[in-house]
């Protein structure tokens, strides 16, 4: 049986004014495991991810515990073993330095290697990730495409070789091709390193491809947990039912299209009759 890696135990977070953002959240993740955090916007997924990473705002009051690798995490004390890919591509990269500089900085800090070695590793990594000059693009963040920026964020997230990677909607702002590229990079890293993954998304197709278990969140609470297939096939909570129902599957798309065509046909018949 796999060793437990992360345990969130009855975690609650509230703002200074008493607004509850997370309410009695508990979840478990084993080494090498994968968990999808599913929920609509504002349900508390990203806040939970930040809390696990230790980046909760100091002004928030917090109760409960987060245990990582057998050690209780202290707010503000950053565990480099937890990597994070942030949601907002546009504001997640320092605009003043080249991506090359930023990545080599992270590598030299985390791996304690010389600057020259870090630069060589960063260069290799960027080329492997398809970022750099070979496609004619420059290397300041504003010179990269959305897909390249997101791939760079993946590179930053895994540069510290984390044993838990949290990806906050890594493909939500990308087209289908760029999105597949990014998910593939995350998957390849997981396969080669055996790291655990928490993937935040409200896209069931992305979760289907990447995770085995899922926790459904709504209004700061975890409403339902279980294997992904179990939750999709037999959702128990209202939140899960709503999310599953709202998924645009091929069948659903066809249904919508047919109903539109029906309405159009009805309208045409009505027009003929009126004439």
């Amino acid at each position: 049986m796999s060793k437990p890696l992360l345990k969130v135990d009855d975690l609650s977070l509230s703002t200074k004014r008493g607004k509850e953002i997370l309410k009695n959240v508990s979840l478990d993740l084993v080494e090498g495991g994968s968990l999808g955090l599913l929920g609509s916007s504002g349900s508390g997924k990203s806040t939970l991810a930040l809390a696990i990473k230790g980046l909760t705002r100091n002004s928030f009051s917090m109760s409960g515990r987060i245990i990582f690798n057998g050690t209780e995490l202290v707010r503000g004390k950053i565990k480099k073993e937890i990597g994070m890919i942030f949601q907002d591509v546009a504001s997640s990269i320092n605009p003043a330095f080249t991506v090359y500089d930023q990545l080599s900085d992270v590598i030299s800090e985390s791996k304690k290697v010389s600057k020259a070695d870090a630069r060589a590793l960063a260069e290799e990594m960027l080329i492997n990730f398809g970022i750099g000059s070979s496609n004619g693009s420059g290397s300041y963040p504003h010179q990269l495409s959305g897909g390249m920026k997101q791939r760079f964020l993946v590179a930053m997230g895994i540069a510290t070789e984390p044993s838990l990677l949290i990806a906050d909607e890594p493909s939500s702002s990308l087209d289908i091709f760029a999105s597949t590229d990014v998910l593939k990079l995350i998957d390849e890293y997981r396969k080669s390193s055996g790291c655990a993954l928490i993937l935040i998304s409200h896209d069931l197709s992305v979760l289907r491809a990447m995770v085995s278990d899922v926790a459904v969140m709504d209004e700061g609470r975890i409403k339902e947990t279980g294997s992904l297939l179990e939750v999709i096939d037999h959702p128990k909570s209202d939140a899960a039912k709503l999310l599953v129902d709202s998924e645009l599957t091929v069948e659903r798309a066809l249904e919508l299209r047919l109903s539109r065509q029906d309405k159009q046909a009805d309208k045409e018949v009505a027009d003929v009759k009126s004439k």
């Binding site: 997640s92 900085d105 750099g132 300041y140 930053m156």
Partner: protein, 284 residues
């Protein structure tokens, strides 16, 4: 990887120095050289009084003409330049040295330390520069050192306030959160992540303010609470010329032109530096 592509990946082959910086720097360097070595290259280095030469217009022997006491105005302009530039540079350097760290600490850490620093700054910001300078000069007396003290006292608060607001707008960006997530310390986040993204407008303000400080010193000297004879500045020379500009306009033209061109030079450098700090403008 080809060398040129590698250089591009590292962001190296780009032009840091735009035309504004080059023109502004050439102008300022010229005026610095003029102020430092002007007496060596001028036709005369004699500043003695000669009433026979009183109020002579510009000539080959006296390129900037002479004043009422028959003193060579070129030599006086050179000496005035030394003081004007010294006041401009020193007052802004001290303001930056005090204002930047205080603004960064106030903006990044917030809380009581922010309140303490900003309320102290408010005391100085509540006074209009010239009126504040007049008030303090009236209390501590005229003179070069006192002018420098007054300008630094009044200048740091503007720098601190501007830098603080820039730091606050940047510190909640995801890339700062990401840097914190990678374990970067507070000072490292300030120097490596916040400062490069927020110091540009402050430097622009500071560089433009060198010209303003030179002008403010001129105003104080003009009002008689600034420099005291025999120390002269361009502003002081201008104030002297006021009563005689109908009969000897060159007394106003030369110090005025030097003052104006110097202020333009600093403004050009300021605008150029601001562009240079903005990668979007630099590497379009």
């Amino acid at each position: 990887m080809p060398k040129s592509e590698k250089a591009k990946l590292m962001g190296e082959s780009q032009n840091m120095f735009n035309n504004k910086i080059i023109i502004g720097t050439v102008m300022i360097l010229f005026f610095i050289l003029f102020s430092v070595f002007g007496t060596l290259i001028g036709p005369s280095s004699d500043l003695s009084q000669d009433y026979d030469l009183s109020l002579k217009p510009p000539s080959l022997e006296h390129p900037f003409g002479t004043d009422l006491l028959g003193r060579d105005m070129y030599i006086r302009a050179v000496q005035g330049g030394r003081i004007s530039l010294l006041v401009g540079f020193l007052s802004i350097i001290v303001s930056l040295l005090v204002g930047l760290p205080l603004g960064a600490i106030a903006g990044y850490y917030g809380g009581w330390i922010d309140t303490l620093i900003m309320r102290s700054a408010d005391i100085f910001l509540s006074m209009p520069t010239i009126l504040g300078a007049l008030l303090i000069m009236a209390l501590i007396g005229p003179g070069l050192i006192n002018i420098l003290i007054v300008f630094s006292m009044l200048g740091w608060a503007y720098i601190a306030r501007l830098f603080r607001s820039n730091v606050i707008s940047i510190k909640n960006s995801d890339f700062i959160l990401s840097a914190r997530g990678l374990g970067a310390s507070g000072p490292r986040i300030i120097f490596r992540h916040i400062a490069p993204n927020s110091v540009g407008p402050v430097l622009l303000f500071a560089l433009m303010n060198i010209g303003t400080a030179i002008l403010a010193e001129s105003v104080l000297s003009f009002l008689g609470v600034g420099l005291q004879p025999p120390v002269v500045s361009w502003g002081y020379l201008l104030s002297e010329s006021v009563t005689r500009y109908m009969v000897a306009p060159w007394l106003m033209y030369f110090p005025g032109a030097l003052l104006t061109l110097t202020v333009i030079g600093f403004t050009l450098i300021g605008e150029g530096v601001s562009s240079a700090f903005d990668p979007k403008e630099r590497y379009e």
